[in-house]
């Protein structure tokens, strides 16, 4: 296990390095000049050159990369082209909205999906099992921002139960107010996320129910629930955990989109503004931090899987199929 941990950590570091290169190249090699952010449409050549020098776009590509890479290693993500504010602290401030939003949504989605997926599988022939499957089919086809729009209209505009958007100016100074303004966004994301989670949990449960080992246990006299909890849970949960890692990352993205429905001052709205303004340091910084989070989640999911299922402990990369 120690050897595995070390190798998997090494894989994490290499993945992060690859991600940095990909991020950098996607932004720089594709057409479009970082200096455009600073310029009006009818800028003179001198102005263009000055702007390029100011943002460092006149340096060779490799040197731009090493400058950025070195900065990241010393935890300096650079400064915004537009506001000249340092990127790192700004991202940290935005995280105080996005991280709670993501985690609360994910927790609520799991609370809905675990029983729903289990019931949809075990009671696949009853009307409520079929209904749950139907809802999960619908849920994976609905755009998350539209669900947000509908919920706002019902619960904020018509019923006036919850605020339709925004976030307290003093952040978490008043936790009650902050949580209230997160309520509708959290419900929105959780509803949509729980649909795909329900499907995975349902199919994992079905796999367990149809498995040979469960049949053997039943043949030896174990009750269905006894066999399920003793053998099924541990076997069935392994594929679910790797999905959970991916789904948590997707929840994070759902947060990015939903923030713009509810005008929350999170990472998503920062990214959107940065993209509209071609503010490369901000875009790079946000995506870098998101990548790191996503990779760490994947790392934790893999380690958790190995802890539960010793059969997986031989392969390095996540999928285990060679």
């Amino acid at each position: 296990m120690t050897v595995y941990l070390v190798r998997r950590l090494g894989f994490l570091v290499i993945s992060f390095a690859i991600a940095m290169v990909v991020l950098f190249l996607l932004l720089r090699v594709l057409p479009g000049d970082p200096a455009n952010a600073l310029l009006s449409v009818n800028a003179t050549q001198e102005q263009i050159d000055a702007a390029r020098a100011q943002v460092g776009a006149d340096l060779p590509l490799f040197q731009q990369f090493t400058d950025w890479f070195g900065g990241v290693l010393s935890l300096d993500l650079g400064s915004s082209f537009i506001s000249s504010l340092p990127v790192g602290p700004e991202i940290a401030a935005r995280m105080s909205v996005t991280i709670p939003l993501t985690l609360l949504s994910f927790a609520l989605a799991l609370l809905i999906a675990l029983p729903a997926g289990f019931i949809a599988a075990v009671r696949a022939d009853r009307w409520y099992g079929i209904l749950l499957s139907g809802f999960s089919q619908l849920g994976i086809a609905v755009p998350v921002f539209w669900v947000g729009m509908l919920l706002v209209n019902v619960f904020a505009v018509n019923l006036r139960w919850l605020p339709s958007g925004g976030f307290p100016r003093d952040d978490w100074a008043n936790p009650g107010a902050a949580l209230t303004s997160l309520a509708l966004p959290v419900i929105t994301i959780a509803l949509v996320m729980s649909a795909s989670l329900t499907r995975y949990i349902r199919s994992a449960t079905l796999d367990v129910i149809g498995s040979d080992y469960l049949r053997s246990a039943r043949a030896q006299g174990a009750s269905f629930s006894g066999a399920f909890w003793r053998h099924g849970l541990r076997n069935g949960i392994v594929p679910v955990i790797s999905i959970l890692g991916i789904e948590l990352a997707t929840t994070f993205l759902g947060a990015v989109v939903v923030e713009s429905v509810f005008t929350l001052p999170g990472l998503g709205s920062m990214l959107l503004t940065a993209i509209q303004q071609h503010d490369y340091p901000n875009i790079q910084g946000i995506l870098l931090v998101s990548t790191l989070l996503v990779l760490v989640i994947g790392f934790l999911a893999d380690v958790a899987q190995r802890l539960i299922d010793p059969r997986l402990r031989t392969s390095i990369s996540g999928n285990g199929i060679r």
Binding site: D125, Q137, A141, V142, I321
Partner: protein, 289 residues
């Protein structure tokens, strides 16, 4: 499949009923997608109004003149919805084509490659897959500027990582089969193996997943457009229609609901087709619904 079946709770559904439900899934899927495709095709030859015609009253409710009302500029919403169908299907097909071309190529290369190259490609793909489709697409749009072509390209590239990993896993399973070893020892070249053994064997699973990715592409385009990063006006994408209608939800709900329903019909339809095809392609698979 064995003759003896376990006596668990799911056995109450008779095989015949299951078969019927399966074909019903496929039929509903084809009907839903067919409806949207038909609307998109009609929009090519006939539209109720010119897209830029602002002769209607502002934010009119549904009437005989304007079936789902008008937007805040007095433009007919049905006209926009029909154009939106065309855009959604264009983006879906385009993005899946881009994603499949890049993804299948990379996946096959990885499956055939030496272990170190395979590992490198796999590691890169794992990183890319960890990124949600939309975030990658946003990144590419950020660099390229928003347009319909960029949206297709961006979503296609973002999907290609998923296709590549799936292709690699499926192809390397086929490559380990004894009939491939037999083909290799009898002198078949790699392109022969790809054409005769790998592609025909992986195609059913791959096709089902490409159908699912079509749905993902349509949703991603809607999100991009909603965020203002999709096709710019005059392209009436459903995502942009929803974004424009959001502010006037209470006064003109039809405009904020109709595009969403159209989106759901298309994506549910495609997912149903994928489910139905999976059951057709793999009759041994039990209880997929």
């Amino acid at each position: 499949m064995t003759a003896v079946t376990p006596s668990d709770a799911t056995q109450h559904v008779s095989p015949r009923l299951k078969g019927r439900r399966r074909s019903r899934t496929l039929a509903i899927g084809i009907a839903f997608v067919g409806l949207i495709v038909a609307v998109a095709l009609v929009s090519l030859v006939w539209l109720p109004y010119e897209p830029s015609d602002t002769s209607g009253g502002r934010l009119e409710s549904p009437s005989w003149e304007h079936w789902i009302g008008t937007d805040k500029f007095g433009r007919d919403l049905l006209t926009q919805l029909m154009i939106g169908a065309r855009i959604a299907i264009t983006v879906g097909c385009g993005a899946v084509a881009v994603g499949a071309t890049i993804g299948i190529t990379i996946g096959l290369v990885a499956a055939f490659a030496k272990p170190w190259l395979d590992d490198t490609i796999s590691a890169t793909l794992d990183v890319l897959i960890a990124f949600p489709v939309l975030l990658l697409a946003m990144l590419i749009v950020a660099a390229q500027g928003a347009s319909l072509g960029t949206a297709i390209l961006a979503i296609g590239i973002a999907l290609s990582a998923v296709v590549a990993r799936l292709t690699r896993i499926l192809a390397s399973q086929v490559l380990r089969a004894q009939y491939v070893t037999a083909a290799r020892t009898s002198g078949t070249r790699w392109f022969g193996i790809v054409g005769q053994h790998v592609l025909p064997n992986i195609w059913p699973t791959l096709g089902v997943n490409l159908a699912l990715l079509f749905g993902a592409a349509v949703l991603a385009e809607a999100s991009l457009s909603y965020l203002g990063l999709g096709a710019p006006p005059p392209n009436a994408s459903w995502g942009r229609m929803l974004q424009e209608a959001q502010a006037t939800f209470t006064t003109a709900p039809a405009g904020a609901i109709a595009p969403g329903i159209a989106l759901v019909i298309l994506v549910v339809g495609v997912n149903f087709i994928a489910d139905g095809l999976r059951d057709l392609a793999d009759p041994t698979r039990k209880r997929s619904r």
